[in-house]
Symmetry: C2
Subunit: 287 residues, 2 copies
């Protein structure tokens, strides 16, 4: 049984045919232009590359999980795009649909850093901040889906007068700590920046966000991915700062000496999303 997977991102769609991280038979990357163009290229890829029995999609959002559509995105032309309907019509196979972060979380639970865990979080720190994961063995859905980026965290304007970049909330977590926020605050891209001032501030905000996830959900592990985390100084500082902020309240090794195994990078790296989309398709078929 061979599945199709799509990591449907705001800048590119990664499409794969296969059964898992070590069995990717075909893989392609399509730029995210217009819905018609991008969906057309994606369906063309699957049509040309042989028989698949189902497709999984991990999509940028916000999304409507029941309808299988992208909803209020500011990305031009993409609001109210019926992704599932378009794929089903063109390919005539079952289509499973979830957020990009939940798909990546599912991939990590099947093959990566969350094997055996029932309740864990996955957070991506890229141009924006996204979140997902599993609670009690199932992907996190509820009223909508997690939106870690839009929680509120302390912001000391005396030491960081930056107003934040979120068009809705200004200095929410994403507004202060996303890649877009870093670029706007310092006038450079994250990969061009260095120095303790930059990365201590960033680690402090990320640690506040993670601490809030811990307080609300009590995940068994937190996986932190995304482009901003490619800065090697960052993850060790985030871990240290989370332990400082927890301040001994949580009486478990995970929040003291065991922090290095508690807050971890994705084991599947940049492939987590598309591989998780394959697993979405497989779980959809067997469920």
């Amino acid at each position: 049984m061979t599945y199709g997977g799509i990591e449907a991102g705001g800048t590119k769609w990664v499409c794969a045919i296969g059964d898992g991280p070590d069995e990717l038979h075909e893989l392609t990357t399509i730029p995210t232009t217009t819905p018609a163009e991008t969906l057309g290229a994606a369906t063309g890829f699957f049509q040309q590359n042989g028989k698949i029995v189902g497709i999984g999609v991990g999509s940028f959002g916000p999304v409507d999980l029941e309808r299988g559509s992208i909803t209020t995105t500011p990305k031009a032309g993409w609001a109210n795009t019926d992704v599932v309907g378009a794929l089903r019509a063109a390919l005539d196979v079952p289509v499973a649909f979830d957020t990009d972060v939940n798909a990546a979380a599912l991939g990590e639970q099947r093959w990566g850093a969350a094997v055996g865990l029932e309740t864990f979080s996955y957070i991506t720190v890229g141009t924006g901040i996204g979140g997902g994961g599993m609670a009690n063995g199932r992907l996190m859905h509820g009223l909508l889906h997690p939106e870690f980026g839009h929680i509120r965290i302390p912001h000391d304007r005396a030491s960081d007068p930056f107003d934040g970049v979120c068009p809705y909330h200004g200095d929410c977590f994403e507004g202060l700590a996303s890649g877009d926020a870093i670029r706007a605050r310092w006038g450079k891209r994250p990969e061009e920046l260095s120095g303790d001032e930059v990365w201590d501030l960033e680690a402090g905000y990320l640690a506040l966000g993670l601490l809030n996830i811990i307080g609300v959900l009590s995940p068994q592990r937190i996986i932190v991915g995304g482009g901003v985390m490619k800065e090697p100084l960052l993850l060790p500082r985030v871990r240290r700062r989370v332990v400082e902020l927890a301040a001994g309240y949580f009486d478990v090794p995970e929040l003291s000496d065991g922090i290095d195994e508690y807050i971890v990078p994705p084991a599947l790296g940049d492939r987590a999303g598309v591989v998780g989309a394959l697993e979405l398709a497989r779980a959809n078929g067997s469920g």
Copy 2:
């Protein structure tokens, strides 16, 4: 089949025998003094009042759910109290154990404000702030259990210079917004206070906490109980402020016109805890 339920609080234990909110055959309240005295009185109550087939306990904490014990509580004499072991030894029935807030959440899901919901949150705002609920149809457990009170929220020291009362974190959510915080900030008990200044500040902090729960978990509903919420001005202001803070980002009626049905008081009122403890016992027996 008749069950026993204990709402094991830090000031009193409420013990009941029955099958649900409308079938409480016996009910008693025991002051929380020493573990030996309080556990002795509770076991005596159940021994005197006929046959029960199991007991459920919703306990103050923090607790170790696997061991069935209270762990690092600052309450004198109660650290490392093996509640489940003591009850099982005295009564020789199965004992189910969870946090007080998860027990109350379970009661609300069986008989109250969360019937039919799979993912919802329950928050108590009393002397402290506690949290729990269900995710994907099961009570929230993970690394430990939720600790809503210890998340961090924005604190504008220019308008509220109060340092917070949390011995671990100072101005965490509980440190700023619990009943103890209100009393320390204003020098009066919550029930003696009135005026917009008091309740707008409190509503603002509570709304920030709820917004963070929404961002992390996306619950289908939030139940807000506890002594501080008895102030009638408070809940409407919390709801209004949550809608303001969400700022249209979440494209659902629950976070605009439907807010009155989204953030609600417990339908079981003060009985949610002990009735939920009965349901813990029942679920333990049937599961």
